[in-house]
């Protein structure tokens, strides 16, 4: 490991303020060790896309690794550049998204001495979207089943979707779209049953779905604290890491317990007036995929400019996008959730309306948006600007360090703060 990587990792660890950050890391380490043991014993595990129904595997006690979040770990360990280069060397051009595929890069480089969490052992199958690159290729590399799913296109876009998701989801997501997702999920269930060697217990699946709802409600409460506390009590990088880590294990007893602990720690910090930046001057939001390769970016302007990042999509979508109450059929609730999950953050006018709503409730002064080849981001930017919220669009890849120029982006942000945000506040 290079000194540069070691130093960056140490700096990243030192910036953590929450006890739950350490318990999460310890859990992940133990969980991966157990996964490696299980895999070595020939017991199945699967790889899933973040927006596929993990709950099905949770209900059948089959562990799963989330490809994008594993990619996040690769990036957070400062190894994204290397594994992105591995993918390029195998012919996958640099314009292809690395967000879900760095794990494939790890597998393609089996002799690397420092694989994140020991690397990915051969999975029993991969569940992803047919539209998502890298997952099918990894399944073919391992010669294991690939369960490819399709998300139906949206037809009706309710701007205030977050008000409808929790209870009116059958209306919002439209029955024919939910039917399609549910039928595909029955194929996922059949695959999981074959791996588990037993039939799905739908009452158990319902309990998992209920636990997810309970967990997401803790996230909802945390968001309220971050939005309404006089100042920011916890750094965004830690919030994102914690949210992602818990979401990875959503529906499990551990996930619920960790979400509760996360909430209690954030609340305690807010109650005690422990602020990230006592000289907080400007509150920023971040719109985009997790900037896992550079989480300290969000802390970089605290001392120099009093800027704190108070909000990202991760925590907010956890409550606004995941919650589904009132289901009599847990599979249908899951079908509703995943028929739209993540899309509502980008499809206009849903993405823009949500961003403005979030900006207002979090009292933000400005937003930094990660331009992900334009899909919906430009309308989010437009909505925010029209609502009087200055936006800086930065060109970068959330996980691929090859596409990050620290000096350039830092100077862009500073110019944005000094030229637009400060003047808007005058």
């Amino acid at each position: 490991m290079s000194e540069e990587v070691q130093s960056a990792r140490a700096k990243h660890q030192a910036s953590k303020q929450l006890e739950v950050s350490h318990t999460l890391r310890a859990h992940h380490r133990a969980w991966f060790e157990e996964l490696q043991r299980r895999a070595a014993d020939g017991q199945p595990y699967v790889i899933c896309h973040p927006t596929t129904p993990h709950e099905i595997f949770e209900a059948l006690d089959i562990p799963y690794v989330v490809d994008a979040w594993y990619a996040g770990i690769v990036a957070a360990r400062r190894q994204s550049k290397h594994y992105s280069d591995v993918l390029s060397a195998h012919g996958y051009h640099r314009g292809l998204r690395r967000y879900n595929s760095l794990g494939y890069g790890v597998v393609l480089d089996p002799n690397h001495p420092d694989k994140p969490w020991g690397g990915l052992p051969k999975a029993a199958g991969i569940v992803s979207w047919n539209s998502e690159g890298g997952a099918l290729e990894l399944a073919e590399h391992w010669n294991v089943p690939f369960i490819g799913l399709d998300q139906p296109a949206c037809r009706v876009m309710h701007p205030n979707w977050w008000d409808m998701h929790r209870w009116n989801w059958e209306d919002f997501d439209e029955s024919y779209r939910i039917d399609f997702m549910e039928s595909q999920f029955r194929r996922v269930v059949a695959f999981a049953e074959r791996l588990a060697g037993r039939r799905m217990d739908y009452e158990r699946l319902a309990a998992v779905v209920d636990r997810v709802n309970e967990q997401e409600m803790y996230f909802d409460r945390i968001r309220s604290i971050l939005a309404t506390a006089p100042k920011l009590p916890v750094r965004l990088g830690e919030v994102m890491s914690q949210t992602m880590g818990i979401q990875w294990h959503r529906g499990s007893e551990w996930g619920l317990k960790q979400a509760r602990a996360f909430y209690e720690e954030v609340k305690a910090r807010a109650d005690a007036g422990k602020w990230v930046c006592p000289n907080e001057k400007y509150r920023f939001m971040y719109v985009g995929s997790g900037l896992w390769q550079k989480l300290e970016f969000f802390n970089s302007f605290e001392e120099s400019h009093g800027v704190v990042f108070v909000r990202s999509n991760y925590l907010s979508i956890a409550s606004d996008g995941y919650l589904r109450f009132g289901a009599t059929n847990p599979l249908r609730a899951l079908a509703s959730r995943y028929s739209i999950l993540a899309l509502q953050m980008w499809i206009p006018p849903m993405g823009g309306a949500w961003a403005v709503h979030e900006a207002r409730t979090h009292r933000v002064n400005a937003s930094v948006n990660l331009d992900r080849k334009g899909r919906g981001v430009t309308f989010v930017t437009r909505a925010l600007e029209e609502a009087g919220i200055p936006v800086l669009d930065i060109e970068a890849d959330p996980v691929d360090a090859n596409a990050w120029n620290d000096d350039r982006i830092r100077s862009q942000v500073i110019e944005f703060i000094e030229e637009r945000v400060a003047r808007a506040g005058e």
Binding site: H90, G91, Y92, H93, R94, G95, L96, R97, N130, S131, G133, G134, L136, E137, E140, F146, G148, D150, P152, A153, C154, R155, M157, Y176, D179, F180, S183, Q184, R187, I347, P348, P349, D371, K373, G374, R375, G376, V377, T378, F379, R382
Partner: protein, 387 residues
Amino acid sequence: MKVETPDANAGRTPLADVLARAYESQLAAAREQHAQGVPVIAIVGNTVPPEYIHARGAMPLYVRPDPLVPTPRADRYIGSESWRMRSIVELALSGELAFARCLILTRGYEWIYYNLKEIFRRGEGRELPRLYMHDYVPTLNDEADIYNRGRNRALGEELDRAVGEAPSDGWERATQLARRRYVALSRLEQLRQEGRVVGSQALRAIGAGYALPIEQYLSELEQWTSTLNRASAISRERVLLLAAHELDSPFIHEAIETAGALVVAEDSWWGSRAAGSQLEENCDHATAVDRRLRRDISGVIVSPRSAREQWVNERMAQKDIDTVVFYIPRSDLVFGWDYPKLKARAESLGLRTLLLTERLDTEDGRASLRRTAETHFRQKSGGELAS
């Protein structure tokens, strides 16, 4: 494999004027039809079978993006998107499609639908025709089949609203035209395999069919292909072209053929996949059309991979290809995942491969593309082919 020919002017049989004009001015014939009272349905994508429109006495217009046309209106909203998306959005916002009863977007183009719908919601798209999203999922499994049947039904209902229900003989007429179209386009494909037509001309001849009234198109195409029967076969490096997006612009063909090779096939419904298969006779007309749609579906988003690559594998195995040219621009998010395996498969069959990545929407990009093709094919070339 090269086909010997003594005719140095082979491949120069000019494209019929009507076909050439229809390809270059994709809206002209549809506007004329509209002026004569024929309803026009504009479509982006290949999952709306023309028979759905023909059966109702209307004209389908399959819109293609143009990399040469500036996109100031689209740039206001989606400036960072690919030229293909910006071009379609520009065309729609310009008002040039206002004469169409409906603009149907299909899967793979859903973001055009989302963007246009939002622009309309904002009151900034008054020239837009009615928008409709036809979400036919190009995945071959039971779940998608059920979903797609529902989507096809919904499409029929939408078309009933837009142009009226099909008359009693509407489907019969549409079916007859479909059979004739299959024969005509299959003949063109056969001529290409025989090396009797230049790829860039074939591309235009096929593309014209997406912009002309069907009877007129078939008459013109049949007449033109009959003249090609007398053409000598062309002896050139024979190329199979695989691209990240539909081959609805002629630049790649022209670059390759100007460099001295001959494009004989491409995995695109704007190319060798245009004819598809013949309609079945043992079921009702609409069912036959739906079944053919499923059977012939092509494109980089088809799943599973075996279905997506079946045609390519069969085509490469025919042993009449010398080189497989891949076109994968940096804006690609999909096809690049298939590229390494396809390249390896081509090379395992003894085929040469060439990767082109240049942009088509800039003069520099097109010039660079021509240079790359020239460098690659120069030594094999005996002269210029493309007009």
